[in-house]
């Protein structure tokens, strides 16, 4: 197991390196630069700014300096935000994005598994139809629409929850964002769960368990649930990385302090430092989660062994 993990990690490093290098050069191919303003800067001032960020050096020098700093764990300065370095912005923003993403993940996964199981057990009866409808809505309606609708209903008309904004430590401000973010995830999980549960319920060993006279609850909990979870588990890795990296819209619409919205604004502002910083973070998240999912497989499926 340990050898497998080490082997996987050593394979991850070249992938990360290639991704970082590609990204470093691609973002610089985009027209414009971080110091383009609505107002033309006098040449002396532009020269001062380029010098302050090493950008008066040849590109390869900048690249090696960047990689050198990166090996020391320093993501460098943001070229637009002058108050915080990229490390600081990630350190301040990521815990929030992670809280948001993980809360949505836990709630939505639980809700999805439950809904999927109920659906499967009541196949083609009204609870199933109702849940399938809900799932369709969750998958089809884009989250910016749900976000604005919830904002209007619960924030503006009913005034039960704050319409937008954030206050440190306040759970109320998180309720709508977590629901909006988790909705699509819950819907996908429940669809997978319903399908695989229906399949598992038709297998011989479930029939055997029932034939032994076991109660329905025991059959589901002990015999059907675990194998039925397999497809869900393989979706959880990409699902979680989607929740952690896809909070952009939710953060924007609710005015929340995560890093998701930095990603787009950094790309538009040509803030090379911040674009690379967020990309590196996302690469890291995705690689680690993929590894974790493979390890969870081994725990759930006795047929999978790593050595």
């Amino acid at each position: 197991m340990l050898r497998y993990v080490i082997r996987r990690i050593s394979a991850m490093l070249p992938v990360a390196f290639v991704a970082i290098t590609t990204c470093f050069f691609i973002i610089r191919l985009a027209p414009g630069g971080p110091f383009d303003r609505e107002r033309t800067l006098p040449p002396t001032i532009k020269a001062n700014m380029l010098a302050a960020y090493d950008m008066d050096q040849p590109l390869w020098v900048q690249y090696f300096r960047y990689i050198g700093r990166l090996l020391h764990g320093d993501l460098g300065p943001s070229m637009v935000n002058q108050t915080f370095s990229v490390n600081e912005m990630i350190a301040l923003g990521f815990p929030f994005t992670a809280t948001l993403g993980l809360s949505a993940f836990v709630l939505a996964t639980t809700a999805g598994i439950l809904a999927g199981t109920i659906s499967a057990l009541n196949q083609n009866k009204w609870p199933d139809y109702l849940l399938v409808l809900f799932v369709m809505v969750g998958v089809v309606v884009p989250n910016f629409l749900t976000a604005h609708l919830m904002q209007l209903v619960f924030g503006v008309y009913l005034r039960w929850l704050p319409a937008a904004g954030y206050s440190p430590g306040s759970l109320l401000h998180l309720i709508m964002p977590v629901i909006v973010l988790g909705l699509a995830h819950a819907a996908r999980v429940s669809r997978l769960m319903r399908g695989s549960m229906i399949e598992v319920l038709g297998t011989n060993y479930v029939r055997t368990a029932r034939a032994k006279g076991l109660g329905e609850r025991l059959v589901i909990a002990r015999h059907a649930l675990r194998p039925a979870l397999m497809p869900v588990v393989s979706y959880l890795g990409p699902g979680l990385s989607y929740l952690l990296t896809g909070s952009l819209v939710v953060e924007q619409v609710f005015g929340l302090p995560g890093i998701g919205k930095y990603f787009i604004s950094a790309a538009l502002n040509r803030d090379y430092g911040l674009v690379l910083g967020t990309v590196i973070l996302y690469i890291f998240i995705i690689l680690v989660l993929n590894l974790l999912v493979d390890l969870v497989y081994a725990l759930l499926d006795p047929k999978v062994r790593y050595s």
């Binding site: 985009a30 027209p31 414009g32 630069g33 971080p34 383009d36 303003r37 609505e38 107002r39 033309t40 800067l41 006098p42 040449p43 002396t44 001032i45 020269a47 001062n48 700014m49 010098a51 302050a52 637009v80 935000n81 002058q82 108050t83 915080f84 912005m89 301040l92 923003g93 929030f96 604005h148 904002q151 209007l152 924030g155 503006v156 005034r159 704050p162 319409a163 937008a164 904004g165 954030y166 440190p168 953060e251 924007q252 619409v253 609710f254 005015g255 929340l256 302090p257 995560g258 890093i259 919205k261 930095y262 604004s265 538009l268 502002n269 040509r270």
Partner: protein, 553 residues
């Protein structure tokens, strides 16, 4: 529950209630700030989303009242030399930083030196170029040469409380320029202690009415009243929460739910809803700014003023402001926006300006302009079968796009076929304009200070650089007329305000009669202010300090 437990609970509950009621006494202003400030360092600030937080915290030598008039800030008094080149300020004796340290002349000197130091890389450094030696000091020394001596800058601490500025030429707008954040003092003792980190939220202090106590990136900042401020007795709002919300629809939802007292921007597509639900809360008054189209005058076709005239006169400005945008903006035909200070005499009105008194009169005048322009184009060989092909550049934004499409259709009537070229954001768009890589381009300018010079400078011939190239600055269209340059230079030396205005009027007329650019509309303020707030007065600079506001619960 036993009886003593009940009493205990009652005591606890009343204590909590008491705490809550005293907390409720603090008046908090919930202010939508738009984008997040990228810095709190006045030397490095770039826009009003930074200015709002900075200017509630740091005060310049001069400041403004709530109507936008320039008044003494940290200055107790000032004297101007007869030649208008030397300004000597006395700092107020009760001016202190929020940590209790007195504000000294050194703080102003350090502030200006930091602004102009090439290592600070301040974008607004050029604003101070009217000060003697400023431009020279801001130009980085050639490689291998030692750093320049800051004493070359025309600012001097005569004593602890006296600051003297020496200017390159008489600058009638000098006092208005001092209200710009880039000219603010900095706490030199904090700069000495923390270096560039002095402006981090945890280190920063101010000499103004408020000080930042909490800064959550991506979310908000909180400033609380500074009791050491000299006018603290008249400051009525205790705390300000600045909301960093870029999405104006989200901000509007929060405003509608009562979570905001003021919005500093609004979603223009929901303006009607705001007008219906919150009548009178969006004043939509003009601010000092212009939306305009630039003509690249190095282009073989567009260097012909008759073509530029045909293009400019056939932009139906009224249709753009009233039908296409319908966001309260006003048509503009002059170069210098209306409502500006230091500009004696009437506003420039071109002789071709359509009669705006009634829709019928306007339509008749406009139809004639189109007919005339079409005749001119046809005389140059551009007919319906052989249209003049031009490109129009703009940056991604629904309003810019709608205007560009509308103008293209207006020009179609005079045998001009437009190809639209769009950049994904403002940066690359303006870089293309700067490099002259366009024929017609959309542009906008908000004035930094209330003086026509700030607008007229945009059309000056570019300055020759050491390497022989010409730096055109913000004159992307490369309009160049030696007579215009002379007039602006003469205005720069003129001490008499009326004569100076005369020279500037002459310059404005010269440039617009040659159709140097096509002004389209004057922006209006997008502030939305709850009726609970008093002390807010719309002003053309669109700068509003919270120290003048109060809030009724």
């Amino acid at each position: 529950m036993k009886i003593h437990q009940v009493i205990k609970a009652a005591i606890a509950a009343s204590a909590i209630a008491l705490m809550m009621s005293s907390a409720a006494l603090a008046v908090t202003l919930n202010l939508h700030n738009g984008s997040e400030p990228r810095t709190l360092d006045p030397a490095k600030q770039n826009g009003n989303w930074e200015d709002r937080v900075i200017s509630d915290m740091i005060e310049g030598m001069m400041t403004i009242d709530n109507k936008g008039n320039v008044i003494n800030g940290q200055a107790a008094s000032y004297e101007v030399s007869e030649d208008g080149l030397t300004y000597t300020f006395k700092i107020r004796n009760d001016a202190v930083w929020s940590d209790g340290t007195p504000v000294t002349a050194k703080d102003f000197v350090t502030g200006l030196e930091r602004l102009l130091n090439p290592a600070t890389a301040a974008t607004y450094a050029s604003l101070a170029y009217f000060i003697e030696g400023a431009q020279d000091y801001n130009t980085a020394p050639e490689e291998g040469k030692p750093a320049k001596d800051p004493s070359m800058i025309g600012i001097k601490a005569i004593d602890d409380k006296t600051v003297q500025y020496k200017l390159r030429g008489p600058t009638p707008y000098f006092l208005s320029a001092l209200i710009h954040p880039s000219m603010y003092p900095v706490p030199s003792h904090k700069v000495a202690e923390f270096g560039e980190d002095w402006s981090k939220p945890e280190n920063i202090i101010g000499n103004g009415a408020y000080k930042v106590t909490e800064f959550v990136p991506g979310s908000h900042a909180i400033s609380v009243k500074n009791d050491k401020y000299y006018d603290a007795a008249n400051v009525k709002i205790d705390d300000i929460k600045y909301f960093f919300i870029d999405d104006t629809s989200a901000a509007l939802a929060l405003y509608r739910s009562g979570g905001l007292d003021i919005m500093s921007d609004l979603p223009t597509d929901q303006l009607q809803l705001i007008k219906d639900q919150f009548p009178g809360q969006a004043p939509l008054t003009p601010i000092l700014s212009v939306y305009y189209y630039e003509f690249n005058q190095t282009d073989p076709v567009l260097k012909d003023p008759e073509i530029r005239k045909a293009l400019s006169t056939t932009i139906n400005r009224l249709a753009i402001t009233d039908q296409i945008l319908a966001s309260g903006v006003k048509p503009q035909y002059s170069w210098v926006p209306p409502g500006i200070g230091n500009y004696e005499g009437g506003q420039y009105t071109p002789d071709w300006q359509p009669d705006g008194s009634s829709p019928e009169a306007f339509e008749a005048d406009y139809a004639k302009l189109v007919a005339d322009a079409k005749a001119v184009m046809e005389s140059k060989g551009y007919t319906a079968d052989n249209k003049l092909k031009l490109t129009l550049r703009y940056n991604a934004n629904p309003d810019h796009e709608r205007i560009a499409i509308a103008v293209a259709s207006m020009w179609d009537a005079i045998n001009v076929s437009i190809e639209l070229v769009k950049s994904d954001s403002a940066g690359p768009h303006y870089t293309a304009l700067e490099q002259g890589d366009f024929q017609i381009g959309r542009s906008g300018w908000g004035l930094d200070f209330n003086d026509p010079q700030n607008m007229l400078e945009l059309l000056l011939t570019g300055a020759k650089q050491a390497d022989g190239t010409i730096s055109w600055g913000n004159n992307h269209g490369r309009y160049s007329n030696p007579k215009y340059d002379e007039l602006i230079a003469a205005a720069g030396k003129e001490l008499d305000l009326v004569k100076r205005s005369g020279l500037m009027h002459e310059a404005e007329k010269l440039a617009l009669d040659e159709f140097a650019a096509a002004p389209i509309y004057t922006y209006v303020t997008k502030w939305v202010v709850s009726p609970k707030i008093s002390g807010y007065v719309p002003n053309p600079l669109e700068r509003h300090f919270v120290r003048y506001m109060s809030k009724a619960e």
